[in-house]
Amino acid sequence: MNEKTMLDDDHYENVIREESVCTSENLVYERPETLLDTPLHYCPGCGHGVVHRIIAEVVDELGIQEETIGVAPVGCAVFAYNYLNIDMSEAAHGRASAVATGIKRVLPEKYVFSYQGDGDLAAIGTGETIHTCNRGENLLIIFINNGIYGMTGGQMAPTTLPGMKSTTSPFGRDVKSMGAPLKITDLVAQLPGTYYVTRQSVHKPANVRKTKKAILKGFQFQKENKGTCFVEVVSNCPSNWKMTPLESNKFLEDQMLPFYPLGDLKNPERKEK
């Protein structure tokens, strides 16, 4: 097929036009500067890469690369400091929001965010998360929820859906013996310290745009010292869900989103308007 089109005269015209399209004037989207050239270690189709890129884009847009400090979790995103060209700190498992609190209190003029997964934030660090939100620390907490422990090999997390199979729940999660999934975002929305609580996803271009807006808002509210901002991103885990990336996105849409509905859970700015 390619040979035929190569012989066609129109094709050469197209090639010339294509070359003229790729100029710096026409550039509408490129890899953000804050995202380093290091290849990501995440599995193909993993939502972590998208969220890393969104953070880098937001930092570039606000021009706060020198003033941003991130706190990486224990989990798949443990090497986040290899990918983001900002100051990063590592925290003990689940303690990212506590470490971020310390950083923010010592350096209150800096932008501080913690980047945590569901095993980190909702299981081992539940106490830290709830108390950080309750104190109303001026932080942005980014919570990646894929319903499973990704790094350790797909064990059941508090956010695993009822009936969902994992290596520690091979017959599906039984709500009677293992408890119901923990909706930690709904929980922190009840606390007076939180200012902006939202749940987004990154499985479609429109959702990626919304997530970017949410993270942008989180940084802006932090500048205004409004209180804790909490952004949950419902994501996929193709490897541990034992699916292809496309199947995992379909599963996310069909199974995860009815249980974790998208939207703002707390947004005082919207009510005023």
Partner: protein, 95 residues
């Protein structure tokens, strides 16, 4: 209405062949190649010349490996401005 003209450049060495961009592309312009990159992934290539530069593929790409170009149509904006001016004049005349 004429379609916007755009183009994309995929960094094939960064690509892991997750095919999310193929699903996201409204023009069905992307396909899996038959060759592998250095890491052994079947990378994605643009096969159709229907790209409008809508950024959908770049937004869903977890590796950040897509650069998007779109022809900036300056004539359209000028026409729109002229139209607005005339409508303003019409309103003032009526008053």
């Amino acid at each position: 209405m004429a379609k916007a003209k755009g183009d994309i450049v995929i960094d094939i060495e960064r690509c892991k062949g997750c095919e999310l961009c193929i699903e996201a592309c409204p023009q069905d312009a992307l396909e899996v190649s038959r060759q592998v990159n250095k890491k052994g992934y079947l990378y994605i290539v643009k096969v159709e010349d229907t790209c409008t530069g809508c950024e959908s593929c770049a937004l869903v790409c977890p590796e950040g490996g897509v650069t998007v170009y779109r022809v900036q149509n300056k004539k359209k904006t000028q026409v729109a401005q002229v139209k607005n001016i005339t409508s303003d004049i019409n309103i003032t005349v009526k008053e």
